[in-house]
């Protein structure tokens, strides 16, 4: 009787997963953090529909970034590497140049056992592609983090302050309220649909600096707002309707 290696590996993965579940449920061990994934995990999956983001993801994996920082930027408990999902340095980087520069020189003076290496031999274009992937993933994962818990009760005044600080340079309150009404759900207000659309390369889009700036600014907001900010902003926008 012959078995393919893949079949055996799949059987083992299922067996391991079953034992893991039994371990967690039947044995009454209560875990306080989400458990690591059981079985083989292909870091490339799911393939991103935007080939530019996928390219950045592949570079992130190939250059070993995902080994310490995790491909979805979720650093496990006890990890030595910086938590990129909540890093203030990454949060302050609006266009990828800070990440690219950090990759170029590394962080040699860290007190960690293994300081972050320098990647001066990686081209600037590739470093920027990695930065684009980091920002995109931060946006997606941060949004999930905010939306998976019930938002606190928002304050209109605090929402107005946030709006005046973050949004008013592009939107009047009236415009923003109309856009929010059109978007419908809270989720669509907080992360407008155009942020996850595949980049258009029509000639008109190529020269549309306004759309590019809007995408970049909104992505930056989604990457960084707190649950309080989100709740306050929603209440404020609804108060205008």
């Amino acid at each position: 009787m012959t078995f393919s290696v893949k079949k055996i590996a799949a059987t083992l993965a299922v067996a391991a997963a079953t034992m893991h579940c039994a371990y967690a449920q039947k044995a009454a061990v209560h875990y306080v953090k989400p458990l690591p994934e059981v079985g083989v995990v292909d870091p490339q999956l799911p393939i991103n529909p935007d080939p530019l983001i996928q390219h950045g993801k592949e570079l992130f994996i190939q250059n070993g970034c995902s080994i310490c920082h995790n491909v979805r930027l979720h650093t496990p408990p006890g990890a030595e590497a910086a938590d990129l999902l909540h890093s203030m340095i990454v949060g302050a980087d609006t266009d990828g140049t800070v990440i690219s520069q950090l990759l170029k020189i590394g962080i040699p003076l860290s007190d960690k056992l293994s300081p972050m290496p320098q990647y001066s031999y990686v081209s600037e274009a590739d470093r920027m592609a990695i930065a684009r992937y980091v920002h995109y993933t931060r946006m997606e994962e941060h949004y999930k983090e905010v939306m998976t818990q019930p938002l606190p009760v928002g304050q209109v005044a605090a929402g107005k302050t946030y709006f005046d600080h973050q949004c008013v340079s592009c939107h009047t309150p009236g415009q923003a309220a109309a856009l929010a009404r059109k978007a419908g759900s809270d989720g669509a207000i907080l992360k407008p649909a155009f942020l996850t659309e595949v980049t258009s390369f029509t000639i008109a889009s190529l020269n549309d600096t306004k759309a590019r700036a809007a995408r970049s600014a909104h992505q930056h907001l989604v990457e960084n707002y707190s649950t309080k900010d989100a709740a306050n902003l929603l209440v404020y926008l609804k108060s205008l309707q």
Partner: protein, 322 residues
Amino acid sequence: MNLTRRAFGRLAAASLPAFATATLPHLSPSAHAQSGKWINSTFSGVTVGLQPYCYHDLERIPANRPILIERMVQNKIGVVELHAAWCEPLFAYMYNTEEEVRKAKYDWRVNTPPSFFEAIRKEFSDAGIRIFSYYASAPEYRGNISIDLQTPPEEIDSFYRAAKALGAERLIGSYGIAVGDRIGKQAHNHPGMIYGLHGHDNVKDPDAFSTEQTFEKGLAMHPESRVWLDLRHFTAANGDPIAFLEKHHERTAALHVGDRRRDNGGSVPFGQGDTPIIEVLRTVRDNKWDIMALLEFEHGTLRSGTEEVQLMFDYCKRALES
């Protein structure tokens, strides 16, 4: 140490995966055991083993141990350096505070009988794999350090006992000089055991093993201490591994084989960095030094872990056989 009923139940439950895997003979790749053969990964006198950290697509948790064994059989690698994370329960995921994690780890380590580790040893030996060394780091609440300056001697002793039960006569850990001294001190309680000093590339930290001078300091601490020279990190710290081995080969037990660029450069596939992997392996071979070559690399890949390990393993095999 007295255990409460609740604590015992929790620890017993946490130990379940090892017993569960040990009782699944139909899933165990037992062909090697039946034929009584070990997997041979020795080439021209130099054994190439694996630090399974290289399977970056496989979490280091007890539930994944059957897949690890299957993969090593597939890659035809007969020697493993087993990280404690493949054996120990996931304490860091079970408790909220560092204090609780510390207590649970202490209780589990001090009270777990050798039979627990013997069962794990059997899983590997049934597949034709020998456990060369036990790596005393495991994920925990913060800091990825399973032994530190607060760890009592009896808990450190438990790692030596675990290593012995696993059939390994070597304990290794990624610790600096202060913690390494505490671990090394306990080795004399366990005749035949050695403690491996494993370095990284932080040359700014005087406590870290990184340069030749820091390793010399570590070797001077205890007669049982041996160097685990990580070729990648030593190169990134601008060290010369061949010159190091020429001087210290008698007290070097193993190499971690991987490639990095100098000047704190990143990890890269074998042959693309500044680490003289081929030259080092041939130096060990030609001088008949008793040093184990353990694959341990950290470069990223779009291939599966098994494919990448195979490529790097074959690179070393070619270097030794030609």
